[in-house]
């Protein structure tokens, strides 16, 4: 006997030999298919919605975006003040005309540049972008200047910095009166 055994399923069994349980009607099959897919889609959709919801927490444990940094006389002319870099992520710079606040986020890929006092520039350690004291980019790949934050005086004479409002030079926003505090 060299013949291979033929599986039962491969044989052409007549329809009437099947038991009622084995013969699934076409209509019933499609409705079960619809039920299954709807259940699957709604479960997946619910999970996705939960994941998206996870991205928006109820409470954010971070320092307030608007805060006071002291009186204008606390800042020396020509000095880049690095006291607020670690906690607030800002540099406060006073020149002969007034005070402005720079973001410490590099506009290339978001590393934190270092202030090199001897060279008078901010230099990013990730891809070598360089910014002048004003925040203008002049070397490396950074496509635009550092962002400035809103700076105003409170009623008691202290400086308020508001990080929720930023001013971008390439959009011409640095001339906004709140981007620069005249002293």
């Amino acid at each position: 006997m060299s013949e291979k055994p033929i599986p039962r399923a491969a044989l052409n069994t007549p329809q009437d030999e099947l038991s009622p349980a084995e013969s699934v009607k076409r209509k019933g099959f499609i409705s079960w298919l619809v039920v299954g897919w709807v259940a699957f889609a709604s479960a997946t959709g619910t999970f996705l919605a939960m994941i998206v919801r996870f991205l928006f927490p109820n409470v954010l444990f971070e320092p307030p975006q608007s805060f006071k940094i002291g009186f204008p006389d606390d800042f020396q002319i020509g000095v880049v003040d690095e006291r607020f870099k670690a906690l607030r992520g800002i540099w406060v710079i006073r020149d002969s005309e007034g005070i402005y606040v720079l973001s410490t986020v590099c506009t290339h890929l978001g590393c934190t540049p270092n202030w090199l006092r001897t060279e008078g520039k901010f230099k990013c350690p990730c891809h070598g972008s360089g910014f002048r004291k004003s925040g203008i980019n002049f070397e490396g790949p950074a496509p635009r200047p550092l962002e400035r934050y809103r700076i105003v005086l409170a009623e008691n004479g202290q400086i308020i910095v508001d990080k929720s409002i930023k001013f971008q030079q390439e959009k011409g926003q640095w001339s906004h009166p709140e981007a620069f505090l005249k002293v």
């Binding site: 290339h108 990730c126 635009r144």
Partner: protein, 372 residues
């Protein structure tokens, strides 16, 4: 004497010089045309892919590393646990390159003599997946696991203090396998060097079997029959990927400045560098009229140049030297291949423009975050 040699190595390591040397040497080592092939033979470079050539390459690399470990500054870089993979990479790249090229040259000789290639498996050129291949894979897998376990126990990964968002390490380096991408990011905008180009690399590599349907060299090592294709691939792999990883590892120091391997990584090294956009070159320096207010007008020169680069070059090449390629592949495959090749060559072009002309961006529209 040794100090003088070190300063020579430092000088040659400057990427503008080392890349130029590599680009000049590359077609002679991997000849893409018959003309280069004759010079390749005349210079004796085919001897690289023999046992003796392999031994010479191995000794030279080892000698450089041994020399490096005797130097105060180079040994600091070589001794970092992060950089061990790079040393393994250099050895393994050269070993497998040598192995493949040696087999290819031997096969080329076989083909020229009308004999079957080494990989031919009589009688029908077929090998069984099970058990022949699967057993080899299993053994390779186990050996690799042993190697990784021994490595990770013997040389623990460096643990550092918790990340501080206000303090980026100086220099801040990507994982070693991404250092080529990080080097690319120095010359291009993040969305281009971080998103578009990596996607193009992946999609382009996946597209190779569909774009290049030549069956020659399929299933066995060969060079003579596919020398241009092998040249283009090795250019992208060895120069634009491996070489840039080596540059990022050994030659990039604090503030992302270039340092020679024997140079001290000084945080205070001053490199005067002012980058200027093409629009500023044209409108301010050449025409002396000041930048136009409309960004599209301002960047029109760069836009025209890039449109010509990607639009006109394929047509010129099709009329000239690459006419046979167009006839063979058809216009769609031809233009896709040329587009991918032009995008690949854009990287060294931009690097040279940055090094020679301090060119910042060819097109610079920061208002829309679009820079090339």
């Amino acid at each position: 004497m040794l100090d003088w040699l070190k300063s020579v190595v430092d000088f040659i390591s400057t990427p503008s010089i080392s890349l130029t040397l590599i680009l000049l040497m590359f077609p002679f080592v991997f000849p893409p045309t018959a003309w280069f092939e004759t010079w390749h033979r005349r210079l004796g470079l085919h001897n690289l892919w023999t046992n003796r050539g392999g031994l010479v390459m191995f000794s030279v690399i080892t000698l450089i590393f041994v020399w490096g470990f005797t130097d105060v500054n180079f040994s600091k870089i070589l001794g970092k646990p992060d950089n061990v993979p790079i040393m393994i990479l250099i050895y393994s790249v050269f070993f497998f390159l040598w192995l493949a090229m040696k087999s290819a040259y031997e096969n080329d000789a076989h083909i020229a003599a009308g004999e079957p290639v080494q990989e031919y498996y009589p009688p029908e050129d077929k090998v069984l997946v099970w058990p022949d291949l699967v057993y080899i894979e299993l053994i390779a897998l186990i050996l690799m696991m042993v190697f990784l376990l021994v490595w990770s126990i013997g040389l623990p990964a460096p643990l550092e203090e918790p990340a501080n968002p206000s303090l980026s390490p100086n220099p801040a380096k990507a994982p070693w396998y991404f250092l080529g991408l990080q080097e690319m990011l120095v010359y291009f905008d993040p969305w281009l060097a971080g998103v578009v180009f990596p996607s193009l690399i992946i999609v382009g590599l996946m597209a190779i079997p569909y774009l290049d349907s030549d069956r020659k060299g399929s299933g066995y090592y060969s060079f003579a029959g596919r020398r241009t294709a092998v040249f283009v691939f090795l250019f992208g792999w060895l120069v634009l990927w491996v070489f840039l990883i080596v540059v990022g590892t050994f030659f990039r120091g604090p503030n992302w400045n270039f340092f020679g391997p024997f140079e001290e990584w000084s945080v205070t090294k001053v490199v005067p560098l002012i980058n200027i956009n093409l629009s500023e070159y044209v409108w301010v320096k050449l025409l002396r009229v000041g930048l136009p207010a409309n960004p599209l007008v301002r960047e029109s020169v760069g836009i025209i140049m890039l449109v010509l680069y990607f639009g006109l070059t394929p047509v010129m090449l099709a009329r000239g030297k690459l006419r046979p390629l167009l006839d063979k592949l058809g216009s769609i495959r031809y233009s896709l291949i040329i587009f991918l090749a032009l995008a690949m060559v854009l990287l060294p072009i931009k690097m040279y423009l940055r090094w020679t002309l301090n060119l910042h961006y060819i097109i610079s529209i920061p208002e829309a975050f679009f820079n090339i």
